[in-house]
Amino acid sequence: MGAVGEPATDSAGVRQRLRRFLGLDDDGVSTPLVLLSGAIAAAVLSPLVWLLLRASEVPTDEALSLIGSSGDVFANSLALVAVVTTASVLLGVPLAVLTVQTDLPFRRFWTVVIALPLVIPSYVGAFAYISAFGPDGALADALAPFGVQIPEVYGLGGTALVLTLFVYPYVFLTTRAALLSFDETQLEAARTLNVGYLSAFRRVILPQILPAVTAGGLLVALYALSDFGTPSIMQYDVFTRMIYVELNSFGDGRNNATLLSLQLLTVTAVVVALESRIGSGEDSGYGAASSSTAMISLGRLRWPAMLLPVLVSTFTLALPVGILAMWFVRAEALAYEVGGRAFEWGFALNSVYVAALAAAATLTLAIPVAYYSGRSRARFAWLAERATYLGYAMPGVVLALALVFFSSNQLAEWFGPGVARAVYQSLPLLVFAYVVRFLPQAVGASRSSVLGVDPALLGAARVLGEPPRRVFRRVTLPLIAPGVFAGAALVFLTTMKELDTTLILHPTGFTTLVTYIWRVQEGGYYGRAALPALVLVVVSGLSMIPLLVQGRDK
C-alpha cells in the first residue's frame, strides 16, 4: 500500500485516503470489483434495514409493554441455551478425550460415529422423538403395558435433550482438533515431573484446549438460540417459535414478531461477538508435533469405556433412524392408516431445483467478495467480507420475517400492492433468502482458496504479458475453482434441509421435502414423513463430509 507523505488536507489527499480505504492500489483490485462487492454487501445487509425500519414503526409505549411481556420467552431461550451448551460440553469433551488420547478400541470408528449426529437435522430428530415418545407415540405405547412411564417430552426437557443429542458434535469436533494439535510431550513432561494423568489434564491440557471448547460451546449456543424446528415441534416457547407464531397471527402479531426478532438478534450478536474474540489469541505451543497416538492406557476399563459412545450413539443415531425406518415400513404395510397428502418425488425435485438455484446464485455473489477481500487488506474489503457474514448471525426466522416486511410493506409502499404481491413468496425472494443465509459458507471457502494462491504465480503471469483481467481468468480462477465449488456444494446441501426460511417464504403451492415433512408432522401423519426425512438425513450427511474430513485431518 502506498505511503502518503503529505497531510491530507487538499482533495488529492482525500482521494489518496479513499483509494487506500478501498484498496484500489492493491494488486488485482479494480473499481468495478470494489463497487460490485459493495453492492453485494449492501444487498446482504438490507434485511437488517427492513427489520429496523419496521421496528421503528411500532409505537414506543406499545413496544415497551411488549418487551416487558416477553420476559418469559427471553428466560426460556436463555434456559435452553444454557442447558444445551452445558450438556454438549459435558458430552463432547469426554468423548473427544476418549477418542483422541486413550486406547479405546476402534477409535477411528467411534470418532466418525460420535460426529455423525450432525447429519440429522435437529427437527428431524425432534420429529422422530415425538413420534416415538410423545403421547400415543410408538415406543410410549409399546412400553406402557410394562408400566414404563415415559417422562414428558414436550417443553424444556425434551427440547434440550433433542438439541443436545444432535449438536454436541460441534464441541466434540473443536475439542478433538485442539487435542490433536496438543503436543503430547507436554503430557510426558508433566508425568516425569511426578504429576499423574488426571492432574496433568487439569493443569496442562485443559487450560490449552479451553479456547476450543469455548468456541464449540458458542457454536452450540448459537445453534440452540436460532433453531426453530426443534422447539416448535417440542412446543417450547422460545424466541424463534414465538416469532413464527406471532407472524402467522393477526392484530399485534407482526409488531410482536418484530420486537422479538430484535431481542433475538441482540442475544445472537452477543454470542457471535464472544465467538469472534475466542477465535484469535490462541496460545498454542511452539514446534509442537501433532499426534494421535494414544497417550493414556485405560487398562481394565478399556472395553467398558466403550459403553459411553455406544450409549450416546444409541440415542443419536440408532433410535431416530430406527424410528424413521419403522414408520416407513409401517406406512407401506398399513397404507389405509395414513392420511394427508401422499408424498410425491416431485417435492424432492423442487428441493433440488431451488437448492441448485441458491447454490448458483451464492457462488456468483461469493466470488467477487472473496476475491476482493482475499487480495486486498483495505478496510473496506474487510467490511464487505464481514457484511456477508450477517446470515451467520441472523436466525432464519428473523431473516424470513425481514423479507416478509420488505416484500409486503416496503415494496407496496414504493411500487404498489401489485409488485408486492408478485415478490412476496416468490421464488427469487426465497433464493435471495438462501443467499443471505448461506453466503458465509461460500465466501469462507472461496476466500481461503484465494488466499492460498501464491502471489508469485500472479506476478509471473503479469511478467509473461497478461493484463490483470486475463490473469484472473487464466490463473486465479482455475486455482480457486475447487474451493469455490466445494463452497457451492455445501450451500446446495444446506439449502435442501433449511427449514425456517423455506417455511415462511416458499411460494404457495411450491412443496419441497422440508415443507412437506413439516405439514405432515403437524398433522401427525408420521408415516408420511418417514421417507422424505430419511432422504434429508442422507442429503445432510453428504453436506457434513467436508466438516468430518476436516476434523479427521487435523
Binding site: E188, A189, A190, R191, T192, L193, V204, Y286
Partner: protein, 401 residues
C-alpha cells in the same frame, strides 16, 4: 572382534566416577541399572538386550546413529515406554520388569525433552514449580528462585516461555526437571534444537549446571563431539545394543569394535600384514610396536589398522615416481621404528574447515583415507600423493574383514 586389553587411561572428565568399561556388573553405587532391557515395536527390536549401570553423580551419554535405540532406552528409563523384557532399577527399586511397572509420575526420574516441552500457558516460574509438591508455597518460591539463579535466568520468572530464545528455553527445561530433585535426570538430544554456535556454549553450561546440582544424568545424542566433551562416560549404541562403554578417551583411543572406531572420528582402515618385527601396510612398513598389544602369535595375520586424519600426512608425488619432496624423509615413529613412505594415491576430495584441510586420498589399492593438514599446505584435487603414518601413539587394529 578385537582382543585388545582394556585401557587404563583416565579421561580428563572422569573425575567423579571410577573408569571401568565393564558395566554389566552392578556397581555398589549404581543409581540406575538396566539389565537385559528389550523393547519391541510391532516385532521390531528397537532395544535389544541393554545392560547398563549408571553411577551416582556421573553424566553418562548414550551415543549412536539415529535409529540405534538410544532414545527408546531413555524413554524406557523414564517410564514413557515399558520394556518388553528385562528390568530397570532406580535407586535400588525395581521400576520396570519382574511384573512391576511404576508409572513415570511415581519414579524419581526427571527428563529434559528434545523440544523442551515447556508449558506455553504457564510462566517460566510456574513451569519450574510445576513438579513441586505445593507449587504455591513459599518454599516452592524459594526453590524456583534458587534454580533460576542456578541456570542463569534470574529475573525471568514472570516471562512466558514463548518469549524466550532457544538457549533460555533449555535453561528453563533444565531447571524445571531439576526442581523435584530426581534421582536420575534424563536428557533427550538436549542440544539438537539449538543453532551451532549456541550448542557449544550450552553444552558447557549444562555440564556446569549438572555438576553443581550433583545430579546423576543420562543423556542421548548422535553428536560424537558433544558426547566426548561433556560426558564422564559414553556408551556407544548400535542396532539396539551397547557396543562399548567407557571414558571418552578410552573409547576414542581404544575402540573395541570397528563400529565404535568408525563412529568416533573420521576413521579409515588401512590393510596390513604382521611380520616378526613390522607391520607392512599399503602405505609403508612400520615397526610392529605401533600396533597395540601385538605378540608373536599374530605373525602372518592380515589386519586392518585404524587410522584417523591426524595420524596421516600426505606429500605430493612427482609423477608416478614417488615422493621427492624434502619433507618426505623417513619418519621416526613413537616406538623408534622407521617408516618408508611409499604408497601412492590420488586426492579425490578436500574439506576446508578454516584452520585445516582434510584431504581424502583414494589409495591405489583400495581404501580412501583422510589426512589432516594445516590450511597453508594446499594440494589440488586429482594430484598424485604419497601418504605416510605419523602417529605418535599406538594404533588399534582389527582382523582383516
Amino acid at each position: 572382534m578385537s582382543n585388545q586389553p582394556t585401557s587404563t587411561t583416565d579421561g580428563p572428565r572422569a573425575k567423579r566416577a571410577a573408569d571401568r568399561t565393564d558395566s554389566t556388573v552392578a556397581d555398589a553405587d549404581a543409581v540406575l541399572e538396566l539389565s537385559n532391557v528389550v523393547k519391541e515395536f510391532a516385532g521390531e527390536r528397537a532395544v535389544d538386550g541393554v545392560d547398563l549401570a549408571v553411577r551416582e553423580g556421573e553424566l553418562l551419554t548414550l551415543l549412536g546413529p539415529s535409529g540405534c535405540g538410544k532414545t527408546t532406552t531413555l524413554r524406557t528409563i523414564a517410564g514413557l515406554e515399558s520394556p518388553t523384557e528385562g528390568t530397570v532399577r532406580v535407586a535400588d527399586e525395581t521400576v520396570a520388569g519382574d511384573g512391576r511397572e511404576i508409572p513415570p509420575e511415581e519414579r524419581d526420574v526427571g527428563m529434559v525433552f528434545q523440544e523442551f516441552a515447556l508449558f506455553p500457558h504457564l510462566s517460566v516460574a510456574e513451569n519450574v514449580a510445576f513438579g513441586l509438591d505445593d507449587p504455591d508455597s513459599e518454599a516452592a518460591d524459594r526453590r524456583v528462585a534458587n534454580l533460576l539463579d542456578l541456570v542463569g535466568l534470574d529475573g525471568y520468572g514472570d516471562r512466558s516461555p514463548t518469549e524466550l530464545s532457544g538457549g533460555q528455553r533449555q535453561r528453563v527445561a533444565l531447571a524445571r526437571s531439576l526442581a523435584p530433585e530426581p534421582d536420575v535426570l534424563l536428557l533427550d538430544e538436549p542440544f539438537s534444537n539449538l543453532d551451532v554456535a549456541l550448542r557449544v556454549e550450552m553444552r558447557e553450561e549444562v555440564a556446569r549446571i549438572l555438576n553443581e546440582a550433583g545430579v546423576t544424568a543420562v543423556s542421548v545424542t548422535h553428536d560424537q563431539e558433544e558426547a566426548l566433551s561433556i560426558s564422564d562416560r559414553v556408551a556407544v549404541m548400535s542396532d539396539g545394543q551397547i557396543e562399548q562403554v567407557g571414558s571418552p578417551a578410552s573409547l576414542f583411543e581404544h575402540p573395541e569394535s570397528r563400529f565404535v572406531a568408525s563412529f568416533l572420528g573420521q576413521a579409515s582402515f588401512v590393510p596390513g600384514k604382521i611380520t616378526e618385527s613390522s607391520v607392512d601396510t599399503t602405505i609403508g612398513s612400520y615397526g610392529r610396536d605401533l600396533l597395540e598389544g601385538v605378540t608373536d602369535e599374530y605373525v602372518g595375520a592380515e589386519v586392518d589398522v585404524l587410522v584417523r586424519p591426524d595420524d596421516l600426512r600426505l606429500s605430493p608425488a612427482d609423477g608416478e615416481a614417488g615422493p621427492i619432496s624434502a619433507e618426505t624423509q623417513p619418519v621416526t615413529t613413537a616406538d623408534g621404528g622407521t617408516s618408508v613412505a611409499s604408497a601412492d594415491g590420488e586426492v579425490v576430495q578436500r574439506q576446508y574447515t578454516g584452520p585445516s584441510f582434510v584431504y581424502h586420498v583414494q589409495l591405489d589399492d583400495g581404501p580412501v583415507v583422510r589426512c589432516l593438514h594445516n590450511h597453508a599446505e594446499e594440494v589440488e584435487i586429482g594430484e598424485r600423493v604419497s601418504v605416510r603414518l605419523v602417529a605418535d601413539h599406538t594404533l588399534a587394529w582389527y582382523p582383516a574383514a
